[in-house]
């Protein structure tokens, strides 16, 4: 199947049923859908909104790579789709959707879990919480590409350690 060129980042509301349709396959006996939603609280306090910011061209590439990696690791999977939202979101809004379809449930759960963990550490996306007291804070993150897979790939390709100024 040729790679789809459609965007994985969106400023529009994420429609879970549309995401599910994009992985539908008659040979699938299982579909796992993960939705990340904006929570009304965090370490910083009560949360009213979250502003998501991305390095968009690089984030698109890394999301597409996350989908390809899932297909490589679980070759029986029939479909995988990731959509991540950017811009201003309110409590309860869906910030990310990951759908995986496969013949059986075990690999669909594993692959979906793997994909969301990859998204959290490998994709250049940042979020800023607007708190109930009117203040704003950046959510503490992890150095991009801090996963074991990304590290080994980078070393293999570049022979260099990551820049940490």
């Amino acid at each position: 199947m040729p790679a789809r060129r459609e965007a994985r980042l969106t400023r529009d509301v994420i429609d879970p049923s549309e995401v599910l349709r994009s992985v539908a396959n008659p040979g699938s006996g299982a579909v796992v859908l993960f939705l990340g939603t904006v929570r009304d609280n965090s370490k910083a306090g009560s949360v009213e909104r979250i502003e998501y910011e991305a390095y968009e061209p690089m984030a698109e590439k890394r999301l597409a790579e996350a989908e390809r990696e899932v297909k490589r690791r679980w070759p029986t999977i029939s479909g995988v789709k990731i959509v991540h939202r950017v811009g201003g979101l309110a409590v309860g809004d869906v910030s990310v959707a990951v759908a995986v379809s496969s013949p059986h449930r075990a690999e669909a759960f594993e692959a979906c879990r793997h994909a969301i963990e990859t998204i959290k550490r490998d994709v250049p996306i940042w979020k800023r919480e607007k708190l109930g007291d009117g203040s704003e804070v950046w959510v503490e993150g992890v150095p991009v590409g801090s996963g074991a897979r990304a590290d080994s790939r980078r070393r293999a390709k570049k022979g260099a350690r990551p820049a940490s100024p």
């Binding site: 390095y55 996306i125 150095p143 991009v144």
Partner: protein, 87 residues
């Protein structure tokens, strides 16, 4: 010896780095074949607030994670990436 032609490099700042730099993007002129490390030094000289963030920051060169020793070419795009928090 002939003076090497300078190169121009575009720098993009995101998240906390954008706030610390006070800008989303800017251009630096550097000696030919300068390293990523040299660019980081130049940027930190221009924006002192960036110095405190350096430990966990990563750098992308033309949309791929780069090492400090990687060499820059004219027209390269370098992005400063603070710790990420997608999902």
């Amino acid at each position: 010896m002939r003076e090497p032609m300078p190169i121009r490099v575009k720098v993009l700042y995101f998240g906390q780095a954008r706030e610390a730099a006070g800008t989303k993007e800017e251009e630096f002129s550097l000696p030919s074949a300068s390293s990523v490390r040299a660019l980081l030094t130049r940027s930190a000289e221009a924006h002192h607030e960036l110095r405190g963030m350096h430990g966990a920051m990563r750098v992308a060169l033309n949309e791929e994670i780069a090492g400090e020793g990687d060499r820059l070419s004219d027209g390269d795009v370098v992005a400063f990436l603070p710790p990420v928090a997608g999902g």
